[in-house]
């Protein structure tokens, strides 16, 4: 215990209560008083309440006036000595404060101005020794801590003669364990104490649990990849195997033709798709039977389809593109499945590319989540039920299904869910049953139906975690602080405001 702490306890013992630490310990800095009080309070020796006071200190100008009289009084002294004073000489004689003195002396009616622009003492001021130097007296009151009304204080503040100063004061009373003795408290448990067993006899300083601790240094996984992992786990739990989606460059054939997207479809526009100039053209698909089926389906129809009835061109399907959807990979996987058709579940979550103007919700690259499910004679009702199970795993229930159009699925359904925060139905995905002429071209049996659905990874993430701009989620503009401080992603977790 420090001497000062002991001193506090002694005073408290003598007085029973310290009404003002400022008065009892005028020379101790308030910070030191506070830390001593806190320390003693922690030991239960005392209790205290803060009792701040507002005091005023003289500025250097104020101090000057207190010592040597106000500017107006100095002017009167000067005029008394000289008899008269040219106005233009005031500052020369009294310095920059001369004008202030002159103004106040006029205000007090102490001086008058002659026709010759000279100052002389007024009638009222016949005997200067009788004059009261009000300014000096007020400052004296301040220094003596006497009460001065607010108006006067404000006036002095305005004249820059005083400065407010907050004084920290405390009222101290005895605590539950008041005594003049103080046990020494240890701050931490050390290895020495454990080895020697000394901790058993020591008293430990109470902890301040109302605190945050030191920030842990750590690395972090990217928030979007954390959401991606949630989706992967949902797929795994439902028996889906991950597709080899690590192929960004695709042929027009796999990205479009195989998916029954006609060669004049707007999706194949330069406006929407990144074409590649180097390398320029792809090989034709190896499976020529398949390719000819696709050609027939587009050109004249096959497998019960009347087709789009246009001239299908090989060079169009040999154009290389950056894939616009991961469905290009699904098509290749389904083509592979045709060699050994059987119920199958596949998924991928990977990047796709669109030649779009970039804005708050669009980037030229984003991630597509895609599931493909093949089984014999499955129904549209199976797809609906399966979508409900899938989305329930991310905590989304109460789905509605809207008919829509996709070139490669028929029927096609947009999946909507009610969004409480937005107060409306929002589209959360697209789905459908792949067209028979697309699958039969591959050689898949008629009764093996294939469901497909997809959604973007970014959109549900942005809705769920209220990210307004996609560039804050993907790409080089993402803030490292955001990555560092991002909580775990749990799609099934309710987020409370």
């Amino acid at each position: 215990m420090s001497e000062f702490q002991l001193n506090i306890l002694k005073h408290l013992g003598d007085l029973g209560e310290i009404k003002s630490t400022l008065q009892v310990f005028p020379d101790v800095d308030s910070q030191d008083v506070l830390s001593a009080l806190n320390s003693l309070k922690a030991h239960g020796k005392l209790l205290y309440t803060k009792n701040d006071k507002m005091l005023y200190e003289l500025t250097s100008e104020g101090q000057e006036i207190l010592n040597n009289g106000s500017h107006e009084m100095k002017l009167v002294q000067l005029i008394t000595d000289l008899g008269k004073l040219q106005i233009k000489d005031v500052n020369a004689k009294l310095g920059p404060n001369g004008k202030v003195g002159q103004a106040r002396a006029f205000k007090n009616g102490w001086i008058v101005k002659t026709k010759e622009n000279e100052l002389e003492l007024s009638e009222k001021c016949k005997d200067p020794s009788q004059l009261q130097d009000e300014t000096k007296l007020l400052l004296q009151k301040i220094v003596n801590n006497e009460t001065v009304d607010d108006k006067t204080i404000n006036d002095l503040k305005k004249r820059k003669l005083v400065l407010p100063k907050k004084l920290t004061d405390f009222i101290v009373t005895k605590g539950e364990d008041f005594s003049l003795e103080l046990t020494k408290f240890e701050t931490d448990v050390t290895s020495d104490m454990i080895v020697t067993g000394s901790y058993k006899d020591l008293k430990f300083k109470p902890y301040n649990f109302n605190s945050q601790g030191l920030q842990a240094t750590s690395g972090a996984l990217h928030p979007l990849n954390k959401v991606r992992e949630e989706f992967r786990q949902i797929f795994f739990s439902m028996g889906f195997t991950e597709m080899p989606s690590n192929q960004y460059v695709e042929t027009g054939f796999w990205n479009f033709d195989a998916l029954y997207v006609p060669q004049q479809h707007p999706a194949r526009d330069l406006q929407d798709t990144f074409y590649i100039k180097d390398p320029l053209t792809s090989d034709l698909p190896e499976d020529k039977v398949y390719m000819n089926n696709i050609k027939a389906v587009h050109e004249n129809g096959k497998f019960e389809s009347i087709g789009y009835r246009y001239n299908w061109k090989e060079e169009e399907c040999q154009k290389l593109v950056l894939r616009t959807h991961t469905t290009a990979i699904s098509a290749a996987m389904l083509h592979k499945l045709a060699k050994n058709p059987k119920p199958t579940r596949l998924f991928s979550i990977d990047r796709v590319f669109r030649n779009e103007a970039v804005d708050a919700t669009h980037l030229a690259e984003f991630h597509q989540v895609e599931g493909v499910l093949a089984d014999y004679n499955i129904t549209l009702g199976d797809l609906i039920k399966f979508m409900e199970e899938f989305f329930e795993k991310m905590g989304v229930t109460g789905l509605r299904f809207k008919p829509t159009y996709n070139p490669y699925t028929e029927p096609s359904m947009e999946i909507y869910s009610w969004h409480e925060g937005l107060g409306k139905w929002v589209e959360i995905g697209n789905s459908g049953i792949f067209r028979p002429e697309m699958l039969e071209s591959m050689g898949l049996p008629k009764d093996l139906r294939v469901l497909g659905w997809g959604l973007s990874l970014e959109r549900p993430t942005m809705i769920k975690y209220k990210v307004q701009n996609i560039r804050e989620l993907l790409g080089h503009k993402v803030s490292l602080d955001f990555i560092e401080s991002n909580p775990a992603a749990r799609l099934d977790e309710d987020l409370y405001e």
């Binding site: 004049q264 990144f274 019960e304 609906i384 080089h476």
Partner: protein, 595 residues
């Protein structure tokens, strides 16, 4: 998906009910169109008539105008029957000249006789042509249409391809005569660039331009650009000649059918269209146009029921289809077959699956019985092997206190080469043909540009900055069908007041240890087992001279060591190129060697 604006009150009058927003939203939802916007609030402020903006399926050209939307919805609601479109006697011909084969070989035509336009229906007629032009007709490249006041011209009409200089006429909404060449110049002017100038490219480089003229060589139109002022239709026009020219004959038929089916309702004889005889011997396209023969498609009812998980009777299936304008009759010969009549307004029906879908929409997607057949029990899932390797890299890097970043795959050519002090030898990088900005010129061959850009954007972050990425780079490969392949890389950087080379070296060690790969002393000289070492390599110009090294890896005993990556202190010029005012060390390797 196209969006169509319709007058709200007009539509509700046609549907015989003033729907609330929720009710109309619901109707659209179940039918498969989407109420995008209701302008009521805005319109009331501006004293305009409220509109509904409705998004329709990209294959439903019959829904591109209010006439079609109301017709289809009324049939869906059971308030209307599908119109029976009829042809009257032809009175004129369109003679197609062989010269058109050089530029736009197909033509179609029809006449709307004794039509009465109102201001609304006239505006809708114009707007439908615009919608068709921009959607189905692919901005007039595949098909273009023109409409003319038949009473200002005389058939038979001719469709020819002529040298531009020989085509002289006053184009629509102009007062002076232009020849073909002048017209192209005029429409290529800056004021017209975003208007008709968008279409000049379709013909401007051809020695001949397509032109439609009457028997007296009065020019009706210069497809796909502009009609003539002479034949301009007005609100009062009673007889409309429609010309359609195309490079795609299927789409030309669709366009003429949609136009006349939608607007023949305003003719004195409702739904009756006067055909035009197309004379086109040279390509076998002589025919009466339009062709109103309804298509028939046979569909298996077992197939429909099986897809829908239902056991509907033929009558019930026909009932569902009727709501969608398709008319089914059970075959008398085969109990499973339904003959389905497809109206001319529904060219989107290509396959029985399209009929099956309409049966499902007619039944209501949200009324379908939910399937119970799909069990998760019989499937064993597995991750993609390279993704599993990636996850090991990612977890280990994050555990070693690096932050994962996710920059874009596309970058500028400079970012991938020049800024890294590298030359493009043309053998590796995939280049894009049509990027909208310089930011997307190539597909990266290294993770470094994206990582450096991320560091640049986060310069204010406290030092050191330690970030990593596990992602794909792409290389060209002539031997493959797709001519390029992805390779999964791992890259990590240390950015600080010092280069921190030994820190990056240590991270590499941590990663290698995670993959059961020990460091081999003396560059692997005295050890033939699995392991790695690094060797100074001054050929990598991205690194400061003498501070770059290649990473050598031997997978197992007896195998040749291979280079799997590189690390080093980044060259100050590289850091300057990316506006990074700090020192940095970097490591990148091909993670596929750990598969």
């Amino acid at each position: 998906m196209p969006t169509v604006s319709v007058n709200k009150q007009q539509l509700f009058d046609l549907l015989g009910k003033n729907y609330t927003n929720d009710e109309f939203d619901e109707l659209c939802f179940e039918f498969g169109i989407e109420l995008d916007e209701d302008t009521t609030e805005e319109a009331l402020k501006n004293n305009e008539e409220p509109e509904l903006k409705i998004e329709i399926g990209a294959n439903r050209y019959d829904l591109l105008c209010i006439e079609g939307i109301s017709q289809s919805l009324n049939e869906y609601l059971g308030r209307a029957e599908t119109p029976k479109y009829k042809l009257s006697k032809p009175t004129t011909q369109l003679i197609v000249d062989q010269s058109t084969e050089q530029i736009r070989p197909y033509a179609a035509s029809a006449v709307l006789k004794n039509i009465k336009f109102t201001e609304k229906s006239y505006a809708s007629f114009i707007s439908l042509q615009d919608k068709l032009h921009s959607n189905l007709c692919r901005n007039r490249t595949l098909v273009a249409m023109g409409t003319h006041d038949l009473d200002t011209i005389e058939g038979p009409f001719h469709y020819r391809a002529l040298p531009p200089k020989d085509i002289k006429f006053v184009p629509l909404n102009q007062s002076k005569e232009f020849n073909g060449e002048e017209l192209i110049q005029f429409y290529n002017s800056p004021e017209q660039k975003s208007n008709l100038g968008r279409f000049t490219h379709i013909i401007e480089n051809s020695p001949v331009f397509p032109v439609i003229m009457d028997k007296n060589d009065v020019i009706c139109s210069l497809p796909p650009l502009i009609n003539s002022e002479h034949t301009k239709i007005k609100l009062e026009t009673r007889n409309v000649l429609i010309d359609v020219t195309a490079t795609d004959k299927t789409k030309a038929e669709i366009v003429i059918n949609i136009l006349v089916s939608m607007f023949s309702r305003y003719c004195d004889e409702e739904f009756v269209v006067e055909p035009v005889e197309i004379v086109s011997e040279h390509n076998g396209q002589t025919r009466m146009c339009p062709n109103f023969t309804e298509r028939k498609m046979d569909v298996s009812m077992k197939y429909i029921n099986s897809c829908l998980g239902l056991e509907l009777s033929p009558e019930e299936i026909a009932g569902c289809l009727k709501k969608m304008s398709l008319h089914g009759v059970a075959s008398t010969e085969n109990k499973d077959v339904m003959h389905v009549n497809i109206p001319i307004t529904r060219p989107d029906v290509l396959h029985p699956c399209d009929i099956m879908e309409d049966a499902a929409v007619g039944y209501g997607y949200n009324n379908l019985p939910k399937g119970e057949k799909l069990s998760n029990a019989n499937f064993i899932s597995s991750p993609l092997p390279i993704n599993k390797v990636s996850d090991i890299f990612r977890t280990a890097s994050a555990q070693a206190s690096w932050l994962e970043v996710l920059p874009l795959t596309l970058c500028s050519h400079d970012e991938n080469f020049k800024f890294l002090r590298l030359e493009d030898d043309g053998k590796k990088v995939v280049k894009l043909a049509n990027p909208k900005t310089l930011e997307y010129q190539v597909v990266r061959t290294s993770l470094l540009p994206g990582i450096l850009k991320t560091v640049k954007e986060n310069r204010k972050h406290s030092l050191p900055i330690k970030v990593f990425e596990t992602g794909d780079v792409v290389f060209k490969c002539e031997a493959m069908e797709r001519k390029a392949y992805n390779e999964r890389h791992w890259g990590a950087i240390y950015v600080g007041k010092n280069s921190g080379f030994e820190i990056i070296q240590g991270l590499l060690g941590k990663i290698m240890q995670t993959f059961r790969t020990q460091w081999l002393i003396d560059y692997g000289a005295n050890n033939v087992g699995r392991g790695y070492w690094i060797e100074q390599d001054d050929t990598i110009r991205t690194y400061f001279e003498g501070r770059g090294a290649k990473i050598m890896f031997r997978a197992k005993e007896g195998e040749q060591p291979q280079q799997i990556g590189h690390l080093g202190v980044l060259h100050p010029e590289v850091l300057n190129n990316f506006d990074i005012p700090y020192a940095a060390s970097y490591v990148e390797l091909n993670s596929e060697v750990f598969l």
